[in-house]
Symmetry: C2
Subunit: 201 residues, 2 copies
Amino acid sequence: MLRCKYIYSGVSMNKVPVAISNRHIFLSEEDTIRLFNTLNVPRQKTLGQEKYYAYEPTVDVIGQNNYVIKNVRVIGPPRKKTQVELLFGDCVKLDIKPYIRQTEDIKGSPGCVLKSKYGQAQLNTGVIVPARHMHANYEDAEKMGLIQNEFVKIRAAGDRALIFDNVLVRIDKYASLAFHIDIEEANAANVKPGQMLQILK
Amino acid sequence: MLRCKYIYSGVSMNKVPVAISNRHIFLSEEDTIRLFNTLNVPRQKTLGQEKYYAYEPTVDVIGQNNYVIKNVRVIGPPRKKTQVELLFGDCVKLDIKPYIRQTEDIKGSPGCVLKSKYGQAQLNTGVIVPARHMHANYEDAEKMGLIQNEFVKIRAAGDRALIFDNVLVRIDKYASLAFHIDIEEANAANVKPGQMLQILK
């Protein structure tokens, strides 16, 4: 690390495992019923953050230009508002303005159409590209000196080395320690799920 | 920039415009004839680096698993060796190990099949994911204090702010000043073609 000694002063040696998300959807109860005819949608598997689960059936996302991204994963349980988290590249294909926001911050975001074999939902808003963030529980946060809603930098080493800036810290009692990025961010850095990356404070 | 004052000491204020590449192919003369039946392939347009041009016809890339990426752009003039530059995500789809290398550094890289309406080429090697780099001519390089083959860092600001590390500097008499990244890297940083990014030395 000699070449870095003037660049990264005050480096923390705390590390966080990477979790990589693909495009996915959270549905409101109303849209769950519109698209699946029931609130008891069959579940697929448990995700890393244990309070969430994936539904078996998927939905198609249709853009302003009628381009279709098929078989997009839906995550339960239902939320107050439907939220479609896409990759930046998906938005380009669908002709939807990429709106980079933290989860649930959908105010002013564009819409799209969701379609399943049971029905469809016309969204006026709710499409975002997820902003990078990390999860920690209270114990991890205290150990690492992380503060709720602060921004940290996270460094990936290797052939596509880079430093992710603007990483929001989200502390929650039930959180598994994880740095959440999407597939494009992971590919840009050549990092794999579970790989330990260094938090720079 | 107050929050950065202990992090980036010795910052250079030199800036470089972004050039974003999609997947593309350079063909050897032999493979050009195999795929297009001629060396006089119709040309499409002039690219940023003026000694290169795009051919009108495209080819399909076929992976180990028979997955096909259709209509991939081919860049002329022919090179000594055929080289297929893919996105990291393409390699995952094609079941080809992503091999991140600078252009022409194809030793040990995996192969694939290229197919056109005229014929096909079976490559044993030549598939890489391009390693990020920047181009400068001698005048730019002198002005900015850039040295041939050194590595610099380049910072993108904004909602997906990050610092690209390991950016190889390639100085050439005919080069247009440009920081070359691929679509996934550009999307990860939310940067657009031509956007000026800061070089950190």
